[in-house]
């Protein structure tokens, strides 16, 4: 297939995934900040929402203070934030239009309908909490529908695999970013471990990767920070864990390699990261430093994006 087609499919999937993640982040932050101050402590949750979205710097070029109104605006609707939800959906549709021939009609319909709704219903932002909740649900449902139609309707060929690469690379990045911002509340040596403060932080982390219920099913335990870290990093049964993302990335890259009859740097790099995740346990990671581990992972993951681009997309 055309390199540009593969590139568009890859970015289309990334943008949809990113939009969903942003919606989940806002949703989780709204829940935490609705609690009485005693439960959330002094940290500015809206500020950390910006950090997990990777726009902690650029936000302050446009706003003075990170609060619900300004952050929701910036993450959801701001035109000058290149990864606002609105811009993600617009970029997704732009990519979709460029590769309409490579999309199934169900996938196109999902993106096109979302783009139409964005303009028809949400062009002025949201007026109330209720409105906002509707908007966030709309974004998550768009992503679910897109993912579902890709899964159910696409031929299992390179078009599908490149699109999945986009999903899993983006997802791994998102999960890693939450961990990066919140790692301190997961550290076992933190002095106020187990206080009510942390409990709500933990649920918030799990919620933003839709893993709150999953946690209980996997561990049958009350929330423990190291188990949360274990779930998000190493547990490959959780679709948003780093291990699961890399299991999928390795599989998709192998499928491409087999179809094209050759492997390359992308396959080797992805396998390297997957092996490291497979051979790690949380004790080692805590000893080495969670922060360092996550930072390294984020760098490695974005390196994979560059290698894939160089190998296939240009």
């Amino acid at each position: 297939m055309l390199s540009r087609t593969a590139e568009n499919l890859y970015w289309l999937a990334r943008y949809v995934e990113r939009a969903e993640y942003l919606a989940r982040t806002i949703d989780a932050t709204l829940r935490v900040t609705a609690l009485p101050a005693a439960y959330i402590g002094k940290t500015n949750e809206w500020d950390s929402a910006l950090m997990t979205a990777g726009v902690g710097q650029s936000f302050y070029d446009h706003y003075q203070e990170a609060n619900e109104a300004s952050v929701v605006e910036y993450l959801s609707f701001a035109s000058d934030n290149p990864s606002s939800i609105k811009n993600c959906i617009e970029a997704a549709r732009l990519n979709a239009r460029s590769v309409r021939t490579a999309l199934t009609s169900e996938m196109w319909d999902t993106i096109n309908a979302a783009w139409i709704e964005l303009q028809a219903v949400w062009s002025k932002g949201t007026a109330s909490r209720e409105d906002l909740a509707k908007f966030l649900r709309f974004v998550q449902e768009t992503s679910l529908r897109f993912d579902g139609s890709a899964y159910r309707t696409m031929l299992r060929n390179d078009a599908y695999w490149f699109s999945r690469l986009g999903v899993h690379l983006e997802r791994a990045d998102n999960t890693a970013r939450i961990l990066d911002v919140k790692y301190h509340v997961l550290l076992p040596e933190e002095e106020h471990v187990g206080g009510p403060l942390d409990y709500y932080q933990w649920t918030s982390i799990l919620r933003s990767v839709s893993a709150l219920t999953a946690y209980h099913w996997v561990y049958r335990e009350t929330l423990k920070p190291w188990l949360i870290a274990d779930l998000l990093i190493l547990n490959d049964t959780l679709p948003r864990s780093l291990a699961s993302c890399y299991g999928n990335l390795v599989r998709n890259l192998d499928q491409i390699g087999v179809a094209y009859g050759r492997q390359g740097a992308a396959q080797r790099h992805a396998r390297g990261i997957r092996n490291r995740l497979e051979h790690s346990n949380m004790d080692d990671i805590f000893q080495h430093g969670v922060h360092e581990f996550i930072q390294e992972f984020i760098a490695d993951n974005s390196r994979l994006g560059e290698i894939v681009t160089k190998q296939y997309l240009i």
């Binding site: 055309l2 390199s3 540009r4 087609t5 593969a6 239009r97 460029s98 021939t101 094209y260 296939y312």
Partner: protein
């Protein structure tokens, strides 16, 4: 201006014409609000599918729908047979003319067309002089705009020999009509149009360079998503099962053309290009073009790639050349033209100019190189000031214009806010020329001027479309 001939009700509304009998009966049985409901449904479908077009310079309406009218335009088998014969003749002549202009130039030596009309013409491509194109075909895809003023004649309004668009509407309009009005179809025997993509692909493959692989690779080249016809480009690529490429996806190496794919470079043999000549190759044409492929013309000259349509076909659909088409048909085919031309005054000719200046109130004046209905004067509908402005333009640059009588284009019943009413229509059938044969899928794009009394059918100026039915006997 006389009352127009109506395709359903005839001249003066005295009879229901044969081809429309069943439709007319159906219309009397169908309540008006049911039609309106279907119209809304059609619009929703179009928007969901994303069949839009862009209007340049109109940021608000970056993606607009072309209004679709649910009342079909119907031609009988007999009418179509005549039209088909005339179209084939015309396109055959266009191809012979182009081959001649870029080679021996017999027609110039025979003094049928003045030389300066060719050589001073900006759409003449000196790069094509003496260059052979695969199978001697220049116009692989032609869109010939046809109008009627009476039941007897089909008249060519314009030949589109460059990158004619609209065929996606022919196909999608039919698709939507069949979805919305299955019962109406059951009551007619409408010739299908759905084999157009197959015919197009076969024609494109048949004209691959002689050295190409047995299964030549065809790609459709688009200027990109901001082009007004982008939807059509992606639609056709999809239906043909070929790659939709932009200039940046192509690369020329050793005078061969390749696409950049995820598996490396892949050779391309035929490019169905929907990019204008000017933007094809920055090394040959406009150096500022980012849409083109450096070296493409060199590969073309080496005979390693077929471009459809060929470079330089603009000289055949130029409005000044148009006026010579009857002579062109006679010259190459020694036949009488089956399709008439609209009477045309060439303003470059002082006598014609004098006549035109005297009759601006009655005439339609067009720019020789204009298209899309822009830069046009419709005398009877224009204000004094517009007419005077045109008079100045004509005097300053007479060779840039032609004039034609204001024709009473035929009308067809159309849904309007006040119920069914006659609106003026034209017809663009699509003529495909492959190495073996010329084919025309029975149908075409009927464009309709939705404003009462308007004669401008262009989508960029408020025109709409209709499904076009050719009845089997």
């Amino acid at each position: 201006m006389a009352v127009a001939f109506d395709e359903m009700n005839g001249q003066g509304g005295t009879e229901i014409r044969q081809a429309y009998q069943e439709l007319s009966r159906w219309l009397t049985e169908t309540p008006p609000d049911a039609l309106e409901y279907r119209r809304q449904e059609a619009e929703l479908l179009f928007r969901r599918i994303g069949i839009t077009f862009a209007v340049y310079g109109d940021a608000e309406a970056q993606e607009r729908l072309i209004p679709f009218d649910v009342i079909p335009r119907i031609l009988s088998a007999r009418e179509w047979a005549l039209l088909e014969k005339g179209l084939k003749q015309r396109v055959l002549a266009l191809n012979l003319f182009l081959r001649d202009i870029y080679h021996g130039r017999d027609i110039l030596r025979a003094n049928i067309i003045p030389e300066d009309l060719i050589f001073q013409n900006p759409v003449f491509r000196p790069e094509m002089n003496g260059q052979d194109v695969p199978h001697d075909i220049y116009v692989h895809i032609a869109g010939i705009d046809i109008i009627r003023t009476d039941p007897e004649n089909f008249i060519v309004l314009e030949d589109n020999a460059r990158t004619p668009s609209g065929v996606s509407y022919m196909l999608e309009n039919r698709e939507i009509m069949m979805r919305l009005f299955p019962d109406l179809f059951a009551r007619h025997r409408v010739a299908p149009v759905e084999r157009y993509p197959d015919e197009l692909l076969a024609a494109l493959r048949s004209v691959a360079p002689r050295g190409a692989a047995a299964e030549p690779t065809v790609a459709l080249m688009t200027p990109g998503i901001y082009n007004s016809a982008y939807y059509e480009h992606s639609f056709l690529a999809d239906k043909l099962g070929i790659e939709l490429v932009e200039g940046r996806d192509l690369i020329v190496k050793n005078d061969e053309v390749f696409m950049r794919t995820t598996e490396g470079l892949k050779r391309v043999d035929v490019i169905y290009r929907r990019v204008d000549d000017d933007f094809l190759d920055p090394l040959t044409f406009r150096p500022d073009s980012a849409l083109g492929v450096p070296g493409l013309m060199s590969a073309y000259a080496a005979g390693n790639i077929t471009l459809a349509n060929a470079v330089g076909t603009g000289i055949a659909d130029d409005k000044a050349i148009y006026s010579y088409m009857p002579d062109i048909v006679k010259f190459y085919l020694s036949e009488e033209p089956i399709l008439k031309n609209v009477q045309t005054w060439r303003c470059r000719d002082p006598q014609d100019l004098a006549y035109v200046l005297d009759h601006l109130d009655d005439l339609v004046v067009k720019e020789v190189h204009g298209s899309g209905g822009y830069g046009m004067l419709i005398g009877p509908a224009a204000t004094k000031a517009t007419i005077e402005a045109f008079r100045d333009k004509l005097k300053r640059e007479p060779e840039g214009f032609i004039a034609q009588p204001t024709l009473a284009l035929s009308t067809c019943p159309t849904c309007t806010a006040k119920g069914l009413a006659p609106r003026h229509v034209d017809l663009r059938p699509f003529v495909l020329t492959g190495s073996e044969r010329v084919t025309i899928v029975p149908g075409g794009l009927t464009r309709v001027a939705l404003k009462e009394g308007s004669l401008v059918v262009n989508s960029s100026q408020g025109g709409g479309t209709k499904d076009t039915w050719i009845l089997a006997d």
